[in-house]
């Protein structure tokens, strides 16, 4: 697609969004059986898959740290993730993204609980449409939670950019390619910034405004991440709720009609909060 003449017409962007609107996000938790934690995330047209392994042994051995775990983050784009085939393997860009993404999630992990071990995070971009690093960080922090790795909280991430001289939240491909600035931000639920990069130019005032917009965006994403993690088990819990009650009433009625059957200590709570 060639550069459009105008990106914002009557306050509506090319894909029909308002300037402060995120692209739709779809999150699935625990999609990989072999990984300790995993997450599949769609962010607009971006599709990323995150897997977390560990804590596990460090290989090679000399990389291990005596007092904390090492966190390794590998961001990789599939060769088919972009229109023109991407040469597979790490390149300058993916090494950079891996580094900044690792630094975005590492402060939230209690690495001191697992000295001499490694926590490996893999993010594979299956389809790219601007903002893959933010999608990768969002997916990685969900996968870390799914792996039951102790964390201070989830990291949420989104980008703010400038097109037509106006600040917009969460750039899509054309806005990113032909826009004037792109600023990915990652932050904790408290609003502490763990990642801030900027490509292009923003004035001091614009930067302030952009950060406010990013904070708002991250808050929305945090909600979605939270819902995804809770929703995964909530559905099962609710599906079985009726079953459980049914079973309980049946056992009760059986006990009253067919004399008292053998004394069984029925653990109503299912045993989860015993001890």
């Amino acid at each position: 697609m060639d550069k459009p003449e105008k990106f914002i017409i009557d306050g509506i962007r090319l894909d029909g969004r308002k300037p402060d609107e995120l692209r739709p996000m779809k999150i699935e938790v625990g999609v990989l059986n072999r990984a300790d934690g995993s997450c599949y995330l769609e962010f607009g047209k971006n599709k990323v898959l995150a897997a977390v392994y560990g804590p596990r042994e460090v290989h090679p051995r000399h990389n291990q740290k005596p007092t904390t775990a090492v966190v390794r983050f590998r961001y990789n784009m599939a060769s088919f993730s972009v229109e023109e085939r991407k040469r597979p393997g790490p390149d300058r860009r993916s090494i950079e993204v891996s580094k900044v993404s690792r630094e975005a999630v590492e402060p939230m992990i209690f690495t001191e609980y697992f000295p001499k071990s490694a926590i490996d995070i893999f993010v594979e971009v299956l389809q790219a449409d601007a903002g893959t690093r933010t999608a990768g960080i969002n997916a990685a922090s969900i996968a870390l939670a799914d792996a039951s790795i102790p964390m201070r909280g989830l990291v949420s991430s989104c980008a703010v950019g400038k097109v037509d001289g106006e600040l917009v939240l969460d750039l899509m491909k054309d806005e990113d390619n032909y826009g004037e600035a792109d600023m990915p931000v990652a932050m904790t639920p408290d609003g502490e910034i763990t990642l801030l990069q900027m490509d292009g130019n923003l004035t001091r005032e614009e930067l302030k405004k952009a950060l406010e917009m990013a904070t708002e965006g991250c808050k929305q994403i945090y909600k979605l991440q939270r819902e995804a993690l809770i929703g995964r088990y909530k559905k099962e819990l609710e599906e079985h709720k009726e079953d459980v009650e049914l079973v309980e009433t049946i056992t009760e009625s059986e006990e009253t009609s067919i004399e008292s059957t053998t004394t069984v200590n029925i653990d109503e709570s299912g045993g989860l909060d015993d001890e």
Binding site: E57, K116, S117, R152, G153, I266, D267, S269, G271
Partner: protein
């Protein structure tokens, strides 16, 4: 009572720092969750994880697999980020260093106990106890270590139920490995039951469902037995 609250890392659980238990951390006098799991409020506030790696603790009974034999130690994989060390002196009999592989070869499975777990993450194991030994029969089944308390149940109620219903001897290692001994089809049966526990441990009424599971398989068995009988009767008549 059947309400299960799912917690994610960073959730504020309490304003009282004194009751912070496992799976939580304290910041600015507030208790936050550090794990993704289910809230448990007894005298301490805890988050019970739904998955996760095994972290050794002193006195734990674990099932390990010998990985390597060194001059005076067996290196044992105990399914945790840290390997266990079984020193030659912790073997029930006195043996020579050269004979170590004769007594315990690489790849053998042992029922062992964590003797010491120090801050340097060194895990020392022992099998100097009557109950501990090399495992040479039966099958090992692995599940998430966080589900072991569910498998054992209230004072061992769950595991004794499975034992009773399947006629198997079952020993659950703290590290998520379970040793099942019995006839082949009974082991399969026990593994089905354990898999059910693993998949549904977070849903209330687990014990009830397991009773139903055993009842269901029993009637199935009876039916298939009856059918078999019918067939054999039919055969006899035909003959």
């Amino acid at each position: 009572m059947n309400k299960r609250q799912i917690i994610i890392p960073g959730d504020v659980l309490s304003e009282d720092a004194g009751i912070a238990g496992d799976g939580t951390y304290v910041r600015d006098g507030k208790v936050y969750a550090s794990l993704y799991g289910i809230l448990s409020e007894h005298n301490k506030i805890k988050v019970v994880p739904l998955s996760g790696k095994y972290m050794p603790a002193r006195g734990d009974i674990v099932i390990g697999i010998v990985k390597e034999v060194t001059f005076s130690n067996w290196i044992v994989d105990i399914g945790s980020p840290y390997d266990g060390l079984l020193h030659i002196s912790e073997y029930p009999q006195r043996i020579n260093s050269e004979d170590m592989s004769k007594h315990l070869k690489v790849g053998e499975t042992i029922l062992t106990q964590v003797k010491e777990f120090d801050p340097m993450m060194k895990v020392e194991l022992t099998i100097r106890n009557r109950k501990l030994k090399t495992i040479r029969s039966g099958r090992i089944f692995e599940l998430s270590p966080s589900k072991i308390p569910r498998l054992i149940g209230h004072g061992g109620s769950m595991i004794s139920l499975i034992k009773k219903e399947t006629n198997c001897s079952i020993i659950a290692g703290e590290n998520g490995r379970v040793w099942i001994e019995g006839s082949d089809c009974n082991i399969d049966f026990a593994i089905d039951a354990i898999t059910k526990i693993e998949q549904e441990s977070h849903i209330p009424g687990l014990t009830n469902r397991l009773y139903d599971f055993f009842e269901g398989t029993k009637t199935q068995k009876n039916e298939s037995d009856k059918e078999y009988e019918k067939e054999s009767i039919l055969d006899e008549i035909l003959e």
